[in-house]
Symmetry: C2
Subunit: 221 residues, 2 copies
């Protein structure tokens, strides 16, 4: 059975991307990153709950706490507030080249494990506008991974959600029976989702447009 290295944050998007690859018959290797983000403990719990739900034993939790030293983002620097409205440009929640780092580490794991694909839940449109979620970037780093690994290593980079809207992702998740109650998207809180950070807003918009109730609890619900 061909192996798939899935980057799983604990959020709705990566859980849905992984579910699609399970549906395609892949053997999943789950990779999660602790990068000193505000909701690190909650996200790690969501990752493990998803892995348990899908009975996936092969899982890596990678400690990247050095992100706290680099800073420059509201997610990893506690002195920068999480914004409650969209800024227009690249928001302050952007973590410099985060997906580049995640994908490089996933490539190392994929090469070691003999996997033939890496899966990321990146979304280009209808998202926060992070440069490292653009399909052009993903295709480019896929090429770099091919050149920077052994000649006999062949790893495809799959981003099945990259051109979906949040509404389409919710619909896809429902169709695939993703346990959305186990997922976490809030940037700010780790008990009740705040409902007002950009990530909560995008999630709630997706559920509303899809006509589906979000099963997680929010502060203002």
């Amino acid at each position: 059975m061909a192996k798939s290295v899935c980057i799983v944050s604990g959020g709705m998007d990566s859980a849905t991307a992984m579910a699609a690859r399970i549906g395609a018959g892949k053997e999943i290797i789950g990779v999660h990153f602790d990068y000193n983000q505000r909701t690190m403990i909650k996200e790690r719990k969501s990752f493990n709950a998803l892995m348990d739900f899908y009975k996936i034993d092969r899982r890596f939790t990678i400690d990247l706490s050095f992100f706290g030293t680099i800073g420059a983002s509201a997610l990893t620097d506690r002195s920068i507030a999480v914004p409650h409205e969209f800024s227009g440009g690249v928001p302050i929640t952007y973590v410099p080249f985060r997906n580049g780092i995640f994908l490089s580490i996933a490539a190392a794991i994929a090469e070691k494990e003999g996997a033939d694909e890496i899966v990321i839940g990146a979304v280009e449109e209808d998202s926060s506008g992070y440069p490292d979620c653009r399909e052009d970037f993903l295709r480019s780093i896929e090429g770099a991974i091919a050149l920077g690994t052994r000649d006999e290593t062949n790893i495809a980079l799959k981003a099945p959600l990259v051109h979906l809207s949040k509404m389409q992702i919710v619909s896809e998740a429902v169709k695939l029976k993703v346990p959305l109650n186990l997922t976490w998207s809030c940037y700010e809180n780790d008990d009740l989702a705040c409902g007002i950070c950009e990530s909560c807003q995008l999630r709630l918009k997706g559920f509303a447009l899809a006509g589906v109730a979000d099963p997680i609890d929010y502060v203002d619900k």
Copy 2:
């Protein structure tokens, strides 16, 4: 003064690459990686000694001890012996996509710090044959970094040694007055260099062909 993020392992190559950028008038930000490699403590000492020598205050030591979990290389897995002869193909000391991970993290630091270049001491010919030291790979990941960072971020990737022989690197180091006594190349030992691992052999060949005495101590010297 334009900033340069230099990846500095503590070895001869990266020290020489950095010295060349100091010579070009750059303000250096030194980045070193602890990746659970056998000679981690010695290499970190060499890095700090080089930073002290060049009076560079801005330095990052990044903990990537998760490499021990990925394994698959004689450098990070203590159960795999360091070979004493060249295998022909990609050697067992190859750490999967290591330079991809290093360069991605360097890119994050460069974007945060407003640096306009990343410098790596990778050598393509006359080297161990690692796929992530090839110029094709370096040019490809440079493109990925451009696409995966903010549009206003412009980071060049410089690999000034990529087409030099080890003899040429020693000559260049001598010309630039690099403190070669502070550098460390051995894969196996952290007290006296073994002189027989592939990295020691390449280093010693370079010194011999350049007609220069290697100032560090070897087991058999």
